[in-house]
Symmetry: C2
């Protein structure tokens, strides 16, 4: 049974890093000195080492040890009790995860029940593709297919606000483009502070202001924290 | 000698479509009933036919005829006096332009002196790659390389404003990521209303609030309308 925490972002506006989800992380990963594989590949302006050091410090506060995927190999994946994908640039994250051979092993382990958590770019990595990222395509990931742990797309940092007087597409415009080009795939616009918790065939929206759901041929619909999203896990026939 | 007009966007906040650049378009394309090849492939939520119809109406006001690239073939490119690439979704624009075989013929004709104009996604198409687009990657263009008419990248709709209280990267953060990953390539963040006019080895920033220039190892620098940008045309050795 797969168990996932997919977060829009990693902190509340004035909160500490991952503070708002600490109880959920502890519930996901469990008690004791569990070994966490941290995927730092979304980092661009800081080094992978620096990103792993940040994660190591934060997860140590919960009693977990952290190994950076750039210092490990896919062949060693069975030694880890949980997998955590950090945010940053989604294109870089997917490019490095694929090139270093981690995509298939991570998917296999998570499908076998190893807990997975990702925020922002890391949440996008859990989707069928990265086609709903907000990031700039600063590197070519050589294909947009991702971990495909769930059947829907997440748009992290979702907002329906817009800069006044500024042209270019709104977020809703962009997601409408996605739905037009990919009609079979629903998109969950996850507002900041909110997340999706998946356990097997159950999914629930938790914390924060909720999400907006976009599906082909239907009006976008706002969902509140607590809403059941299990229907989104069902793959189109 | 190549002649280009590369626009951040296609209108002023309260202006009509392409009104702010009509004199520049007439100067670019010339007098008489010139034949314009219009590239409508950035359209997602409207059809290519509908986009071409809009362009046909607007360019007819300047005395030009318009043919949509989706109704023509790359083999017929020599019959056109100018090439215009419309805005929309950059990934879709590049995907269709490449798949239908237009990339190389357009580049060849423009390098031979056929005037080229593009706005937003259409301006990105003129760059080495589309790696500085703001758009959502709703389709996979199977590679990010574009027309490579100029040696620098444009970020259209550039703004240094940010939604208050919203997380995620600012535009400057995103461009900093690009520069980190692609250190040899300068990025011109073109503010709305501004454009770059290229004639051979000369480039000038024109109209509107100007641009911000990002280069590896240097502080971002604001440029005003009128600034000479010819140095950006020089390819790194």
């Amino acid at each position: 049974m797969q168990r996932l925490l997919l977060l829009s972002n990693s902190r509340k506006p004035k909160g500490g890093w991952l503070d708002h989800v600490e109880p959920l992380i502890k519930d996901l990963i469990g008690e004791g000195r569990r070994k966490v594989l941290f995927i730092p590949f979304a980092a661009v302006t800081i080094s992978f080492d620096a990103y792993v050091a940040m994660a190591r410090k934060r997860f140590a506060q919960m009693g977990y040890s952290v190994t950076g995927a750039h210092k490990s190999t896919p062949a060693s994946i069975r030694q880890f009790d949980a997998i955590v994908a950090g945010g940053g640039n989604t294109f870089r994250l997917l490019a490095e995860t694929r090139e270093r051979g981690w995509l298939a092993p991570i998917r296999t382990r998570v499908k076998a029940g190893v807990p997975f958590m990702g925020w922002s770019a890391g949440a996008n990595l859990a989707c069928p593709t990265i086609r709903t990222t907000n990031d700039m395509p600063v590197v070519d990931p050589k294909g947009f297919n991702a971990l495909n742990l769930v059947a829907f797309q997440i748009n992290p940092h979702y907002t329906d606000r817009k800069l006044k007087g500024h042209g270019g597409e709104s977020r809703d415009d962009r997601i409408a483009e996605f739905v037009k080009m990919n009609p079979a795939v629903p998109v969950l616009g996850l507002r900041e502070g909110s997340l999706v918790k998946v356990e097997g065939d159950r999914a629930q929206l938790l914390l924060g202001p909720g999400a907006r759901l976009f599906r082909r041929g239907r009006k976008p619909r706002d969902l509140r924290a607590g809403a059941d999203c299990s229907a989104l896990l069902v793959r189109p026939a």
